[in-house]
Amino acid sequence: MTKVEMTVNGKQVSRDVEGQTLLVSMLREDLRLTGTHVGCDTSQCGACVVHVNGKSVKACTMFAIEADGADIKTIEGMAGSDGSLSVIQSAFQEHHGLQCGFCTPGMVMTAANLLNDNPKPTEAEVRHYLQGNICRCTGYHNIVKAIMAASGQDVSAIAAE
């Protein structure tokens, strides 16, 4: 067992973990932050995306001990302290960018990183950036639209209700 310390959603945490423990397992099982999901075993689906020192990372591709000392943000840390949805979260609701909700945490975390890197992405840039996040419900239309709306762009020309 190795002791790891990190900041998760602004709180200091410390746990003893085995060397083989993945960051996603520590988040879900030790810290009970189950909003981060596991949808595959090949680092393809993106349901487990979290921010590590401000960058989106698939938490299934990183050992917990590699995150020692890191600043981690998960989906549970995205809403305001009063519980209000962030701009990106609100845009997903407003534009129906989620259905079953399982891929949603990873989508939101990836989208946040995208808008941090590229505040006004084009449709093609959004679609390209989402390559590592699979959604089976939405056909991506409303996810792309929500992210563009969250960036402050006018999406009224993109067909929908």
Partner: protein
């Protein structure tokens, strides 16, 4: 004018808030019980093999191991049954080999579980599974559906054949259909494969069971689209646990698409294990297991013929289909290629003769069952591909040929040549709208622009009709269903005027928590926020059949309406008593009960309170309380229909296809929440385009699934898909359910695959390549090869 609330409003989804905050509670997210143990399965690495022996002694002695199960432990319990009895053309019932909890005697597909370890932790269970010594003698794998029928190597030795059934629909129409084809001026023939798909709900299956010895009660949390159906199967067929001793809970479920309709052996295993070891036992599928063991979809090999007269009037459709059902019969496996497929083979057309032959074949592959659309995509694909080919052969415009043969609006109710009675529709209006919103007139200009870039541009069109609102119990009973297909709702008005609505349908992305309150609020004239939906827990909800076949709104929504109507009737009685008026003089408007023609009234809330504080009640006439249940059994299927088109660009140098414009115009009848309906269509389109261009579950000749991960199975990603144009303004209400609703969940996946393929063929033809068909998925390699061999 769009509405803000109630029926027809694009109300934003209330369930989104918890999902967006990471507060959803999927089965694997449930906090572990203090006594939780883990189950891990030992799965066959060969497709077909005789289990000579299984030595579990080492595994049993490993650290943390609590129990090891093998097939022998379940030899005395029942098999997981097929829900639908199909008779062959000769009247013989289908072959129905037992589907055991764990493989016993033989393993029949890669991934078939033959043992399971229960241990303190998942890691310990995994280690112990590795220590199980199974001596399995590998046999040649039975993979090809046609070869399987002449082989003397059987998936199930006890039935002595690999044919499950040889079904004819409608057998009495066979001769007339044959004669029509024989005498026709023109016959178009097409052989095609409807590619095998893996549903791939993003949440892998997960099942967790506990057992309470003091009361002999079991609780199963599981990823299910239909907890009552799962309980019924476990209770009545597999485990014999009385229903009043078994609670099945499907909490938040991360997508289903059909794959979570069925009862799987893992559910039975964790129940048995929970009792034996006296612990909570959980199994969580990993993605590889999901690929190997979730029921797959489609996998038809079909020959279809379309006979026409010289003017292009359809005279007959005749098909012969080999349907791969995999190694075992999953619960709806026999209904999907038959009554959800053959009955739709008249399509949107007045064609007088239809004959469908389906041979269902066992192979050493994962079970195949209903996947989004379930039989109807296969029917539409066959029909709309052969019609397109026919149009080309006759030199007719593909839209004009379809229109010429459409059922016209004044012909409803229309008895189709495939045995269904369509209640409503207007296919020309859908086609008109499609031509408008897709700007079909502008295609020629867009083609020029593509050609200027060195790309071939194709236009593809498609019409579909499907059968949803599954299903009238009377009818499906005659057709072989072993269950009824009603649904149920209980509306409970609480004393302070808020409502709990318990529904048999299960929401795993469809938005029931938002839509059902819209309906009830609209009927009662109250705020939807005061209404909550309860679903997914058999101890709380009435016996409903769950969510699949685009049935939640048309069937369960109708039950919600009926229960709410009963609430209104009783509330009027109570209001009449309170207002000293006859109940027949009471009207309900905007949440207020008033005496007609007076200003005397009481609010809905006051009536609710009175119901539970029944002082001064005429107890002989009115019971206390305000709670009503309705079971709704549909009178007929519903018949959503649509006109789709798409434009693709094909790169002639690489064969790469890009869908540039995709338009779906659907008739869903009345629409409750346009935003959600549009989202359902988007999702179906994504899956349909995925089937057309990307996805394939590929087994090699040894029965190894070569596409068993997201590295190998091409799931559609965001940059594979376009924005879609979706319209549902041309609805013709369903005539037989109270909402006039038809169902929208599967349409996109039904209408889009042939549209895409038709467009690619059109593109290649425009480039001078005489390619008339390419089997899905239309990968660059297949398209390039077709072009270069043409």
């Amino acid at each position: 004018m769009p509405k803000d609330t109630g029926i027809g409003a694009s109300t934003r989804r209330r369930e989104d808030v918890r999902f967006l905050k990471g507060k959803g509670q999927y089965t694997d997210d449930i906090p572990p019980a203090h006594d939780q143990a883990a189950a891990v399965f030992a799965r066959s690495t060969v497709a077909n093999g005789v289990i000579k022996s299984i030595d579990t002694s080492v595994a049993e002695s490993m650290p943390g191991v609590l129990a090891v199960f093998t097939g022998a432990d379940f030899a005395d319990v029942g098999g997981n049954p097929a829900g639908w009895l199909i008779n062959s053309r000769d009247g013989e019932p289908m072959k129905e080999p037992k589907r055991p909890v764990l493989a016993h005697g033989k393993v029949r597909h890669v991934g078939d579980a033959y043992a399971a370890v229960i241990a303190e932790t998942e890691k310990q269970a995994r280690d112990a599974v590795e220590a199980i010594e199974a001596d399995i003698e590998e046999l040649p794998a039975i993979m090809d559906v046609k070869a399987a029928l002449t082989s003397d190597n059987f998936v199930h030795d006890e039935i002595g054949t690999n044919q499950c059934f040889d079904w004819g629909w409608i057998e009495d129409n066979r001769r007339a259909t044959d004669d029509a084809i024989k005498g026709a001026a023109h016959v178009t023939t097409l052989e095609l494969v409807n590619n095998r798909l893996v549903p791939n709900a993003m949440e892998p299956r997960c099942s967790m069971a506990s057992y309470k010895e003091s009361s002999d009660e079991y609780t199963l949390h599981t990823t299910s689209q239909n907890p009552h159906l799962t309980r019924l199967l476990i209770s009545a067929f597999v485990m014999g646990i009385p229903e009043n001793k078994l609670t099945v809970i499907a909490p938040d479920v991360g997508g289903g698409f059909g794959s979570k309709i069925y009862h799987y052996g893992e559910e039975a295993l964790v129940l048995a294990a929970a009792k034996r070891v006296g612990r909570t036992v959980k199994w969580t599928s990993d993605r590889t297991e999901a690929f190997l063991t979730d029921a797959h979809g489609r996998d038809h090999v079909t020959t279809i013929e379309l006979a026409t007269d010289a003017e292009g009037n359809f005279l007959a459709f005749r098909t012969e289909t080999y349907a791969n059902v995999g190694a075992y019969l999953s619960n709806f496996a026999t209904a999907t290629p038959t009554f959800l497929h053959g009955t739709l083979m008249a399509g949107n057309y007045t064609v007088p003769n239809v004959y469908v032959n389906v041979k269902a074949v066992f192979t050493n592959t994962a079970p195949v069952d209903a996947y989004r659309g379930a039989g109807r995509p296969e029917a539409t694909y066959s029909l709309e591909r052969v019609i397109d080919k026919c149009a080309r052969e006759l030199g007719m415009d593909p839209i004009a040929l379809r229109r010429k043969n459409f059922i016209k609006p004044d012909q409803y109710p229309f008895a189709s040549a495939a045995g269904l009675e369509y209640d409503s529709g207007n296919y020309d209006a859908l086609m008109d709208k499609m031509e408008e919103v897709a700007d079909v007139a502008g295609f020629a200009e867009r083609r020029k622009a593509s050609e200027a870039k060195g790309l071939l541009r194709g236009f593809g069109v498609n019409a579909y009709v499907e059968a949803c609102g599954i299903a009238p119990s009377n009818l499906v009973g005659v057709l072989g269903s072993r269950v009824g297909l009603y649904d149920a709702a209980t509306v409970r008005v609480n004393a302070t005027g808020n409502l709990s609505v318990m529904v048999g349908a299960h929401s795993h992305g469809q938005g029931h928590e938002t839509v059902f309150p819209q309906i009830v609020a609209d009927m009662l004239g109250i705020d939807a926020q005061s209404i909550d939906i309860v679903h997914g827990d058999t101890s709380k909800i009435p016996f409903g059949m769950g969510t699949y076949g685009s049935r939640s709104l048309a069937v369960c929504g109708s039950a919600v309406v009926r229960a709410t109507e009963k609430i209104i009737a009783k509330a009027k009685k109570i209001a009449g008593h309170m207002l000293e008026a006859a109940e027949t003089d009471i009207e309900l408007k905007d949440g207020q009960f008033s005496v007609v023609g007076t200003n005397k009234g009481v609010s809905f809330g006051e009536v609710a309170l009175k119901a539970y504080i029944p002082h001064n009640f005429p107890i002989e006439d009115i019971e206390p309380g305000l709670e009503e249940t309705a079971f709704y059994d549909p009178a007929n299927f519903t018949f959503p229909s649509g006109a789709y088109c798409c434009e693709v660009e094909v790169d002639p140098d690489t064969g790469k296809v890009r869908v540039d414009r995709m338009t779906a115009v659907d008739d869903f009848g009345n629409v409750m929440n346009p935003m959600i309906v549009t989202g359902q269509v988007h999702g179906g389109l994504g899956q349909g385009i995925g089937q057309a261009l990307l996805e394939a579950a590929r087994y090699n000749e040894d029965g190894q699934l070569e596409s068993a991960s997201y590295m190998d199975y091409a799931m559609p990603r965001a940059d594979d898909l376009p924005f879609y144009i979706v319209d549902h303004s041309q609805g013709t209400p369903c005539t037989h359910n109270p909402l006039g609703a038809k169902g929208c969940g599967e349409a996109g996946a039904i209408g889009s695959p042939p549209t895409v393929v038709n467009a690619v063929i059109d593109a290649l033809q425009s480039g001078g390549k005489n390619v008339t068909h390419i089997d899905m998925p239309l990968t660059p390699h297949r398209v390039w090869s077709a072009m270069n061999n043409a």
